[in-house]
């Protein structure tokens, strides 16, 4: 058989938010006219879908619809600090800040309506653009409620800051509390290795990742799928080559990236182990999703053809060379045994 299959697995852990420093993020929220809402925060949408996640959180917490949430994003002269887009931190840090600010804005509105309706604030419910008091006939739209609040001199706004309880590392033994939220995960890879060309195809990945709480499961899958394919690129083909400080791979003709034809089917398994510290239970997934992929693939290559790749990337040339060396070694040992 020229093509051999194998499987491998690997596990990972990861810390969420900035490492070994105190992280922080803030948000301003307003329940606006017509039952819409405004969220302003120094968030950076880099493609992961954080704006939609924040809209979902604000809608859920205040009782409006996500499509009626307007987000004012990162502008240092217009939005409160929410720090950077990295460290798998935005859902955790900014999501929690938006949740807390949304709760404050909602409370401002509910407190007015409790007086208007003469009910206990705790009996008031808000959901998907409507507000009502339990066991009464009081039931109006959020737009009407905001109008009522404003006519009584109250603009329902809220603001919040979310920070972490973390420390730096000791310079001698490294002890410290770098994060307050950790995630764990593991992946299985199935590969096919062509023993004539050395080419490795990754046919399937099963990826189980704890994200705390998935705000948008499709978005979580998108992060897992994208992370895995970036790791596959580093594992099998990508190589920024330098010679005496000059690169020979300064364009996409020479710097090889995974295309539609290179990617495995990814089967995501989302684990939800809620973070006990933040108000939402969310954690993060952007980076951990790519951590176990490479060793899972390398372990699968070993399973398929018995060669251990310890220097990335596992290009066809490298895999083929390793297979030949292994075959020669085995032939040599067999000859020695026969003597």
């Amino acid at each position: 058989m020229a093509r051999k299959r194998g499987r491998g697995m690997a596990a990972c852990w990861y810390g969420i938010a900035r490492t070994a420093v105190i992280d922080r993020a803030a948000a301003w929220v307003e329940l606006d006219d017509g039952g819409s809402a405004k969220v302003v925060t120094g968030v950076t949408e880099i493609g992961e879908g954080i704006l939609t996640v924040l809209a979902q959180i604000a809608a859920h917490e205040m009782g409006v619809r996500p499509e009626h949430v307007v987000i004012g994003d990162n502008d240092t002269a217009r939005a409160p600090e929410a720090s950077h887009a990295g460290a798998s931190r935005q859902t955790y840090m900014i999501g929690n800040a938006v949740a807390l600010a949304s709760r404050e804005a909602r409370k401002r509105l509910v407190d007015v309506m409790a007086i208007v309706w003469d009910v206990e604030a705790e009996t008031i419910r808000t959901s998907a653009g409507e507000i009502w008091a339990e066991n009464t006939n009081h039931h109006i739209t959020m737009g009407e409620a905001v109008h009522t609040a404003k006519s009584r001199g109250v603009v329902p706004v809220g603001s919040a800051s979310f920070g972490t309880d973390t420390t730096g590392l000791d310079p001698v033994d490294g002890s410290g509390r770098p994060w307050q939220a950790y995630v764990f995960g593991a992946q299985v890879a199935e590969v096919e290795v062509d023993t004539v060309t050395g080419e490795v195809q990754v046919l399937g990945i099963w990826a189980a990742h704890d994200v705390g709480r998935a705000v948008n499961p499709q978005g979580v899958e998108g992060q897992i799928e994208g992370g895995i394919v970036q790791a596959l690129g580093q594992g099998l083909m990508e190589d920024y080559k330098l010679e005496n400080g000059r690169t020979s791979t300064s364009g996409f003709a020479k710097y090889i990236l995974p295309t539609a034809l290179d990617v495995p089917r990814v089967n995501s398994i989302i684990i939800e182990d809620p973070d006990p510290i933040g108000p939402l239970g969310v954690k993060g997934v952007g980076e951990p999703a790519m951590v176990p992929t490479i060793p899972a693939i390398m372990n699968a290559i070993y399973d398929a053809v018995g060669v251990r790749i310890t220097a990335l990337p596992a290009t066809p040339e490298k895999v083929l060379m390793a297979i030949r060396e292994k075959d020669q070694l085995e032939a040599h040992m067999a000859a020695q045994a026969a003597e």
């Binding site: 499987r7 852990w13 880099i46 033994d173 002890s175 998108g222 799928e225 992370g227 920024y240 539609a260």
Partner: protein, 625 residues
């Protein structure tokens, strides 16, 4: 070359304009017609984000001289949702979650439209082949395939159009639901403007002169000829920095433009703002820099040797950062182990390859606020640094984040925003800089290449008793995020396992290579490759299943980490259990048993791909596209 009176029908409108015959179709539609939906990703026909239809055929507009498109019918991505209503395919991208940063998406939508026009019944494998010329760096492609399949089924009538609608969400419970992304319609239609798509009245064009040397003293820079050229409005070097120069993420060791010496090939030396890109190019060529080459070092191990060239005076040993972690007594731990294995692992530098090359605009507003618009992953920190560098109060510096066409850590460094600010201040006009792909690759951070020596001692029952790891990383010419990468690599190096004796050292080293910096997973990828490969090698020697050896050592609730932090709930065992079940894993020691396994080739993998096999079989004319 005389101008061409270029005539074509573009998105249903007849146009007739003077154009240079060698002008690329991409530049014509973007710059002359302001149709910026299709993007430039590579300028070399490799990424597909510039894809348009010419007489109905999918073409990469970055490779097409406009003369070749004379008298044709051209459709850009703007043609697909001309009245504002998304096409079925665009709606399917929205529903399936197929767009992330969105920069590749206009080209991807064009390629997918072409695929379904060629074969309305194309199966998933054929769709993949037809999208093979379009690169996406965010999604992993899977949801793009899902979207094209969904659109195919709606278009050919096998599914109702209602499948494209938003899922119903009961009781306002919007957390945990697949709410469609609020930014997707703007991305699939090409309406969203990235920094390189934006213009301002009176805007000047900026380009950067870069170092051809890996290490050299700058004897002199003469900008007088460039400054004297007509149409040149500003030329800057490090001499134009009014404040305290130096940026970085952890150590501010990099000047906005080279100061005194250059430390890597591609480092910025000077920048020009002028009325047109052509004038900028000529002005850059007129800047005279005299370099005196210095001995350079390209290998981190050599950089550590006595007598090696020194990059930065503050770090005479060339060490950017060393992070140690110590638990127990590893020497005693190895002595008490039944199995001790050592191996060396290396990883290479890789490029972020976000589809959007760096771009930005800057201007000084009516209140004297220096304003930078760019796809920037850390505007808060950059505002702070830039204020110091240009000697202004923080309130007079404003960063506005433009839509980020992929980042992955590569846009955390303030690598060009300082030059934009200085040129806006010098010219008092709006300025714009758009990197070429080559410029983006040579001048911005890479993932740290690493060499890791890992030694692990285990008890016969599979318990890891001691772990020692030394990782040397090439940090390149400047610090950027190296310190943080070394720290995260070290903290996570030993994996989520309880190990009584641990000695970890990670080193980031200065060399004259392209700087290394932040890259998604930030050091954990390098160390996990070593630790998780090593665990399988040990499992083979001990006759243990890979899941089993990890469970034996797994941190449980309340575990104490290698930095002596106590954890709360630990979801590792849950993850392993769920993964083993979902993958149908067949238990056994990792003895290279692929040919005996019975858990392979299930229906939840993709078929292997043999390029071109389908088209040889089909021999359809459109297959040649």
């Amino acid at each position: 070359m005389p101008d061409l009176q270029f005539k074509a029908t573009i998105n249903g409108r007849k146009i007739s304009r003077a154009a240079k015959p060698h002008q690329r179709l991409l530049d014509f539609v973007r710059d002359d017609l302001n149709l910026t939906g299709n993007k430039e990703g590579c300028g070399a026909g490799e990424c597909g984000t510039c894809s348009v239809f010419v007489n109905g055929v999918l073409m990469k507009s970055c490779l097409l001289p406009i003369a070749k498109a004379h008298n044709t019918t051209i459709e850009t991505v703007e043609a697909l949702a001309k009245t504002g209503e998304l096409s079925v395919l665009q709606q399917a991208f929205h529903k399936a979650g197929a767009s992330q940063c969105g920069y590749c998406i206009p080209g991807m939508v064009m390629a997918a439209t072409a695929a379904l026009r060629a074969n309305p019944f194309a199966d998933r494998e054929e769709i993949k082949e037809r999208l093979g010329g379009n690169i996406c760096r965010c999604t992993g492609y899977q949801k793009i395939f899902d979207a094209v399949e969904l659109a195919r089924d709606v278009q050919n009538g096998s599914l109702p159009a209602t499948v494209l609608f938003e899922d119903e969400v009961a009781q306002g419970d919007f957390i945990g639901k697949n709410v469609r992304r609020i930014d997707t319609p703007g991305k699939v239609s090409g309406r969203l403007k990235y920094a390189g798509d934006m213009t301002m009245p009176g805007m000047l064009h900026v380009q950067v002169l870069r170092s051809p040397h890996p290490h050299a003293r700058i004897a002199s820079i003469d900008i007088s000829a460039a400054e004297a050229m007509e149409g040149v409005e500003g030329v800057i070097t490090c001499a134009d920095v009014p404040g305290e120069d130096g940026f970085g993420v952890f150590v501010n060791d990099q000047p906005i433009m080279a100061r005194g010496k250059v430390r890597y090939v591609g480092e910025a030396v000077a920048a020009v703002a002028a009325e047109s890109p052509l004038i900028v190019k000529r002005a850059l060529a007129a800047i005279k820099v005299i370099y005196e080459p210095l001995p350079a070092v390209f290998d981190p191990d050599e950089a550590l040797c006595p007598g090696a060239p020194i990059l930065h005076d503050y770090a005479p040993d060339n060490i950017t950062k060393h992070i140690p972690i110590r638990v127990g007594d590893v020497d005693k731990g190895f002595a008490e182990s039944d199995l001790v294995m050592e191996e060396t692992y290396t990883t290479q530098a890789i490029e972020h390859a976000y589809l959007e090359p760096e771009a930005g605009l800057a201007y000084v507003d009516q209140d004297g606020v220096v304003t930078i618009v760019s796809p920037d992953q850390n505007v808060t920190h950059h505002r702070h640094m830039l204020a110091r560098i240009i000697a202004k109060p923080i309130s007079k510096v404003r960063f506005i984040m433009s839509p980020v066409g992929g980042g992955f850590g590569g846009k955390e460094d303030m690598i060009y925003q300082g030059m934009l600010a200085l040129l806006a201040m010098k010219t008092q006009r709006a300025v714009r800089l758009v990197f070429t792909r080559e410029e983006s690759i040579i001048s911005t951070a890479k993932r740290h290449p690493s060499r890791t020596v890992l030694r692990m001692g285990l008890k016969r029952d599979g318990h890891i008793h001691a772990l020692q790891m030394k990782m040397i990383c090439d940090g390149g010419a400047y610090g950027l995020s190296t310190e943080g990468v070394m720290r995260k690599a070290a903290i996570l190096a030993a994996g989520p396992y309880v190990i009584p004796n641990v000695r970890i050292d990670t080193f980031g080293i200065y060399t004259n290579n392209t700087p290394s910096g932040a890259f998604r997973s930030f050091g954990a990828l390098q160390t996990a490759f070593a630790t998780e490969s090593h665990l399988d090698m040990c499992a083979e020697r001990l006759g243990l299943d890979p899941f089993r050896i990890r469970r034996i050592n797994a941190m449980r609730d309340g575990a104490v980490t290698h930095t002596k932090a106590r954890l709360g709930s630990v979801s590792l065992m849950r993850s392993l259990d769920a993964l083993e079940k979902a993958s149908g894993w067949e238990s056994g020691a990792p003895t290279s048993r692929g040919d005996r396994r019975r858990d392979l080739n299930r229906n939840d993998i993709r078929p292997p791909c043999t390029l071109g096999a389908r088209f040889v079989e089909a021999e359809k004319p459109e297959a040649a596209e």
